[in-house]
Amino acid sequence: MAHAVQEEKRLHMGLPIPNGKLAMWLFLVTEIMFFTALIGTYIVLRNGQPIPVHDLVAGMDQDGNGEIARSEARGEIADLFEHGDQDNNGSLSEHEVGQIASVLSLPWPSPHQVHLIEWIGALNTFVLICSSFSVVLAHHAITHGDVKKTTIYITITLALGAVFLVVKAFEYNSKFSHHILPGYVFDRLDGSRGAQYLAKVQAELTEIKEHADHVSAEAAADCDKLLRELTAREKEGLRSLTPEELGLRVNALLEKHPDLHLTPVIPWGNMWASCYFAMTGFHALHVLGGLVVFAIILLMAFFGTLGAQHAGLIELTGLYWHFVDIVWIFLFPLLYLV
């Protein structure tokens, strides 16, 4: 890492600290600023979201082309929340409506809504803590000249880092499969977005109907019912489901059967997905970078060139790795818990 010219024994001014370590700390300082800006962006954007439930319903565009339509919709939804939708044959119980309403009225998606599972985050935290521990042990070993032990600890670190990334990959995959991606999340259903949502859910319900064997019988029945309601109404000339109503129904369905591949309505979901992928993505890139360095060290060990003279290298790599760990220590609670 540190290809310093001036490693000869020579008088010079400055701090009693090798150039490499000084530069590594400087690099970490720039990284602190980088992640501060990133996490700061997340914090302010998240806390800046003002919009409770009626905005999902009523939209918040201010040109107000349809004041009347809006207040009508608002009234309907208020009814829905207060009494349940009577002509829905009770598919949405009052309790459920209350629950969904309370979730929707959060100014930010709850982890639950965006399929984040707290214990997986905690597991990943633990994995990174373990890897921090093993890398510090590797450094300890190499300062005592124990190359073999060092190799073992570095291997463990590499493996733990890989585990972290694999877990992350599974998490990302679940986001992909539920379309919780920036630009894909339906977080408001006014205007053309509502029509898009209706079409999309209809297609998804049809898909589930065609492959009913992939889901539980109960879920298939619920989906079928919703699909029939959606299509029957059009034919029978009844008032069709508004996108907002459909959104609530789909969310309720997902509440019941989390494995269904339906597109939920997530207020502020786009913003959430943007922040989530930017922060965890950059963190994962840093993890990947660390793994590359560990792999290089292992290659050196493999070819027998690793020795006590590389204590500095391992210390610097360790510093970087601990920093990556610290970033995750903050990301975990910010994304999964609070």
Binding site: K9, H12, Q62, S132, I326
Partner: protein, 154 residues
């Protein structure tokens, strides 16, 4: 090639002289002492030689694990309504700060290197907080006040 050699040979013959010159140069302006690289190595390997034993590392590791569980537990308590969201937020972030400090102080050897790198870390933390504080009125509070109007029922 020749220059290199010359430099080296002069280096070899000069050190004593230089050191003396050094010392003199510094009696006039003793605000900073020159450092020999040997010393630099010695002092940084100081961390390694007499650094924390494996036991200390293990203890910190255990503490980190416990703290992770703790923040998990606070979250659970919040969800079951035992503590308010604000309290749990404060507790969880407090735990995160403690964890980060433990990692930085022990694993990153700040307990030895702090006096050599503090001048970089403190400004970074101050500036980081500064961004947040300045953004708050503008983006968080600013929005909320506008939103309050928008949310007033007609």
């Amino acid at each position: 090639m020749s220059e290199e050699k010359r430099e080296e040979s002069q280096e070899e013959t000069k050190p004593q002289e230089e050191e003396k010159a050094e010392a003199e140069a510094h009696t006039e302006h003793g605000d900073e002492k020159p450092v020999e690289d040997k010393e630099a190595h010695a002092s940084s390997s100081h961390a390694e030689g007499h650094g924390p034993a494996v036991g200390v590392y293990t203890a910190i590791f255990a503490a980190l694990s416990v703290f992770t569980l703790l923040s998990f537990a606070f979250n659970g308590a919040m969800q079951s309504g035992m503590i308010s969201a604000m309290t749990s937020f404060a507790l969880i972030m407090g735990v995160a700060v403690i964890k980060a400090c433990l990692v930085a102080i022990v694993f990153m050897h700040l307990m030895f290197d702090w006096k050599r790198v503090y001048f970089m870390i403190i400004p970074a933390i101050v500036l980081g907080l500064l961004i947040l504080i300045v953004l708050l009125p503008d983006i968080v509070l600013g929005w909320k006040s506008v939103a309050a109007h928008e949310l007033t029922p007609p």
